[in-house]
């Protein structure tokens, strides 16, 4: 399978916040190399003057009134927290 010279897997994994093993890096590089090779086809399409489509149907900005509505209780919102204490999520130290 083709390696993509452009795909710097270390850099992209860092951007994606993914710790990859050396084996994964080699395997994903090879597999994605052949996918990227396939994707090169798109360079052949003439897109001069074509507007990009982000959504199939144009929807203008949706506004809502800024009023409070009932939401989840703190207990309910925290049922999936990996670690919690005193109604707060415990996180690793961020500031020294």
């Amino acid at each position: 399978m083709a390696q993509s010279p452009d795909l710097n897997i270390d850099r992209v994994a860092e951007l994606a916040r993914l710790a990859l093993t050396p084996e994964e890096k080699a395997r994903f590089s090879a597999q994605l190399g052949s996918v990227l090779h396939h994707i090169e086809e798109l360079a052949k399409v003439d897109v001069t003057g074509v507007e990009p489509t982000a959504h199939a149907f144009p929807i203008s900005n949706v506004w809502a009134n800024d009023v409070a509505r009932p939401g989840l209780s703190v207990e309910r919102a925290l049922i999936n927290a990996p670690a919690q204490r005193d109604h707060m999520i415990v996180v690793p130290k961020v500031v020294e």
Binding site: D6, L7, I9, R11, V12, A13, L15, A16, R17, L18, A19, L20, E24, F28, Q31, L32, S34, V35, L36, H38, I39, E41, L42, A43, V45, V47, V50, E51, P52, T53, A54, H55, A56, F57, I59, V62, A64, L72, R76, A77, I79, N80, A81, P82, A83, I89, V91, P92, K93, V94
Partner: protein, 488 residues
Amino acid sequence: MSVPLHFQTIAELAPQLASGRLSSIELTQAVIARTKAVEARVRAFNSYDETDAIDQAAASDARRAAGQSRGPLDGIPLGLKDVIAVDGQPLTASSKMLANFVSPYDATVTQKLKDAGAVLWGRLNCDEFAMGSSTENSAFGPTHNPWDLARTPGGSSGGSAAALSAGAAIATLGSDTGGSIRQPAALCSLVGLKPTYGLISRYGLIAYASSLDQIGPFARSTEDAAILLGAIAGHDSRDSTSFQTEIPDYRAELKTRRGPWKLGIPREYFGEGLDPEVGAAVEKAIAFYRAQGCEIREVSLPHTRYCLDTYYIIATAEASSNLARFDGIRYGHRSKDGKDVLDVYQKSRAEGFGDEVKRRIILGTYVLSSGYYDAYYLRAQKVRTLIRQDFLNAYREVDALITPTSPIPAFKLGEKSADPLTMYLCDIYTIGVNLAGLPALSLPCGFTKSGLPIGLQLIGQPFREADLLATAHAYEQAHDWHRRTPNL
């Protein structure tokens, strides 16, 4: 009636429930018993909650006894793909990342099904975060096709298709980003509908690619699909891409809208890579419509060959952004080995995500990264415009398009998992529809000589699901493929 309860349709069961000949508890118990009899072989469920289902059934029976039935879905056991939130139930997306996640709220579709009285039964397996075409990417193991247990039911909503096909639910919901409802429906001999983008609220659906994802029904008939669609469609202020549109009575429209329709055959969908038996079955279906007086016209969708590439850029870009939320901090898997906050992010994601999800996050991050954005992502969005324009041009000439749903019937488990690109090619006839935001459905149109189901895809016009369902219904009325059940 000779058809066992677990293989009957909503349209058949609803009058029995209404007349009191059948209770929801009896029906739910029959579905639970069937599930237990087949699940060790099919593995369609990530989890189920028997007590909760029986409680819901008892509540349905009590409503009916009090004269407060909520309609045809009241008391019917329905399964949901494990990417749709049900308050108090597990929600895993078939990922280790969410192995212990319990949803604190209902998705809008869940709320609507509860309002309609449905008995929610089971969390159905899928490819991890709905990324795949075979359900083999599930962290909890693959689902098996009830028609041939050595084969895939398709994906990503493979559990939703296999459970229904095996009689372990009366209908199910899935989600479709590039064919994830239609392809498994084709591979398991079911009706599977991907509605127009914006018709169904995505609130409470775990996001994969937000501009492409739509929830939709799997059913045993077009009538059942129409009943379910009517129950879940409609504007929702909690999904800003939800569309304000009239919701017709899809079930009533099935019987009133008749052809003949002008049907287009896109020549790009009948080329290289199409299995000859699949092609022959689709040709027969086309001949049926012609014999009914429909005008059949060849059309061209010239940018079809670029659909796959466009899809894999846009879908992975959106996925890399959507899945950034899984960082091990607020919910989901948190690595025990993280030295600092960045390390926690990187290791939690490395431990929580499976291979295909990692690959798509890497690809999506790459196509969005500085220096590559214009060449890949922006260009793909422009090609998306051209792909959408192809369909709209075709609809100047015809009412709907007919194609195969999948180029091949169900393939063997393990056959394509080593090479992502081969797997991606399973979706070549379905992804254009998502890029263009159109409604489309798959319906059973035959079997191969070795007994594997074949699906016919009908692609309709935006928000015209009633016409699409009526077109499919006309075929279904004259054929009995959808009545066949697998030997399990």
